[in-house]
């Protein structure tokens, strides 16, 4: 079984983002970039499927600038077999990402797509569901537990109020939530080995997808700032304050 893992290069989880003064976006200059954390979880899950003998090949695909090769190398160092970079400097919107991935799937015919539930930059939480829709495949989002057999997957999902378990026939799209697994750190020998693995270089035009978006960003602004309040000495003083605020 082939497993496809889409991975995105985003501003590192720990970096405090800054809005550009001209309101055209957030500042990406000299900022540490990493693989989207949910995609790391998805990569880990796919690699574990390979280690269990369920998956035969794990393919990491990324859409982004030339530097997104580093993101693919991270996936390769974790255990993915090969990579595909669809190179573009356009910030591709979720629908067009899904269309590009659909075109990759038409060529690669994977039985399963495992991907992060959302990227921590745009916070859309959309591509997995969109891809499933375009392929007319079943979807199992926000997965916290996945068991894959030959032709189906049992997926436990995090929902409001608790957990839901679904059984999806394959091929299917699964999106990873935080608690699916703890991604490994790539070992130095594996990082070295990853350098020799193949990354196919493509462009959106190769897949016949126009990545111009119908969703136009007019401006990006700072959210209203919350200022620090006061320290109170004890619980009694706190209760008095809260009563005067009218929240108790």
């Amino acid at each position: 079984m082939k497993v496809l893992v889409p991975v995105k290069r985003v501003i590192d989880y720990n970096v405090k983002v800054r809005v550009k003064p001209d309101q055209t976006g957030v500042d990406l200059a000299n900022v540490k970039m990493s693989m989207n954390p949910f995609d790391e979880i998805a990569t880990e899950e796919a690699v574990r499927l390979k280690e269990k003998g369920v998956a035969t090949e794990v393919i990491a695909v990324s859409i982004g600038p030339a530097q997104a090769q580093e993101t693919i190398r991270t996936a390769l160092a974790m255990g993915a077999d090969r990579g595909i970079l669809i190179q573009t400097d356009v910030d591709v919107d979720p629908l067009n990402v899904a269309k590009l991935l659909k075109a990759v799937i038409a060529e690669e015919s994977p039985n399963l797509v495992v991907m992060g539930k959302q990227a921590i930059d745009g916070d859309n939480n959309a591509v997995g569901q969109m891809l499933a829709a375009l392929l007319d495949w079943p979807q199992a989002t926000f997965a916290s537990k996945v068991e894959v057999s030959a032709d189906k997957a049992s997926v436990t999902r995090e929902i409001d109020g608790g957990l839901q378990t679904l059984e999806v026939s394959l091929p299917a799209v699964i999106t990873a939530d935080l608690r699916l697994n703890e991604p490994r750190y790539a070992s130095l020998p594996n990082i070295m080995k990853a350098k020799k693995k193949e990354i196919a270089m493509k462009t959106p035009a190769d897949y016949g997808v126009d990545v111009a978006s119908k969703l136009k960003v007019l401006k990006v602004t700072e959210p209203p700032k919350r200022s620090a309040g006061i320290k109170v000495e004890n619980a009694a003083e706190l209760v008095t304050k809260l009563k005067s605020e009218g929240v108790l």
Binding site: A98, I120, D121, N124, D160, E167, D177, P223, V247
Partner: protein
């Protein structure tokens, strides 16, 4: 202009999010209908019909809809879509699951997590865990919008819309099948809509301590219980308690953070609360930068004092 709101509900009852999504939908202008897609959901549909400003309520029922399976909800909504210019969906876990599927089937982008409707095609939404706000304009013919419900105030009741039963669309025997659900029944208010939220963090140290410290304080205040990601990851609290960028976004009148340091991802889920209280023994914890009132001290002594001060 006609707008279709997809109701948040539990089959038995209408969810609080529905009235808030309706408020956002009303700002688009035009007639607003509500779709209740469920099973045994007549009561929820009747409740939706009472909301002010609704033209009509559509009720579609099947087993798959009863579990809000994305494939089934999508088929039913897409079959109705030709009659609407916009489809507005709550950003609940169910809504987040099916909304992008609907959007892609209609070949449009989703406008995610809207916190402000500027006009019928222009919206404000948070990105980067709420550390930036993006104003976007959609030129898609049909808009598929998910709404961050904490950003909108529910309107009143007093409506008397008709409830029309419609047939669910889509073939039987979907490829995704419901197996089971573990939903915790609680007498506490729902986390997202609660007026007061008490949240615990990693400092609790164990699930036992979380139960002993956080829950009695919440119950004394009639509050919902939340948790930081660290507390959930450590197994101190269940996943649906998580407040933050990838968990629930809350904006209660009062948010009490106990033993939570205040990572960016947590602040993203609660910084729009009216009053924030932080209890933490580390005076430099980032949570104090957003808290209106802070107590520097060990929760083990502060929380019992707070319990007795509350009387």
């Amino acid at each position: 202009m006609a707008v279709l709101v997809i109701a948040d509900h539990t089959n038995a009852a209408l969810g609080e999010a529905t009235a808030k999504v309706l408020a956002a939908a009303s700002k688009l202008g035009g007639d607003v209908d509500i779709l209740v897609a469920g099973q045994g959901a007549k009561a929820a549909a009747d409740a939706a019909a009472k909301l002010a400003g609704v033209r009509k309520v559509l009720l579609a029922e099947s087993d798959a809809l009863g579990h809000q399976l994305a494939e089934a909800v999508t088929d039913t909504v897409v079959a109705l879509a030709s009659g609407y210019d916009a489809i507005v969906i709550p950003a609940t876990s169910a809504g987040k699951n099916f909304a992008p599927r609907i959007a892609a089937k209609l070949d449009v982008n989703q406008i995610t997590d809207v916190i402000e409707v500027v006009s019928a095609d222009t919206f404000v939404r948070p990105i980067y865990a709420g550390n930036a706000l993006e104003t976007v304009q959609s030129s898609d013919a049909k808009k598929v919008i998910t709404v961050r419900t904490t950003a909108f105030k529910a309107g009143g009741e007093g409506g008397s819309a008709s409830v029309e039963t419609i047939a669910p669309a889509g073939a039987a025997g979907r490829e995704a099948a419901f197996v089971s659900e573990e939903v915790v029944k609680s007498d506490r208010p729902e986390l997202v809509g609660a007026k007061i939220v008490v949240s615990g963090g990693r400092a609790m140290g164990s699930a036992d301590e979380f139960h002993k410290v956080i829950e009695p304080l919440a119950d004394k205040l009639g509050a919902a219980v939340g948790a930081s990601r660290a507390a959930v990851d450590a197994g101190y609290a269940p996943n649906d308690y998580q407040v933050g960028q990838t968990g629930k976004v809350v904006a209660p009148d009062l948010y009490i953070a106990v033993g939570i340091s205040g990572a960016i991802q947590h602040l993203a889920g609660m910084k729009d609360s009216k009053v924030i209280v932080a209890i933490n023994k580390d005076a430099d914890a980032p949570i104090f930068q957003v808290a209106d009132y802070g107590i520097v001290g060990d929760y083990k002594t502060v929380v019992p004092e707070l319990m007795s001060a509350l009387g």
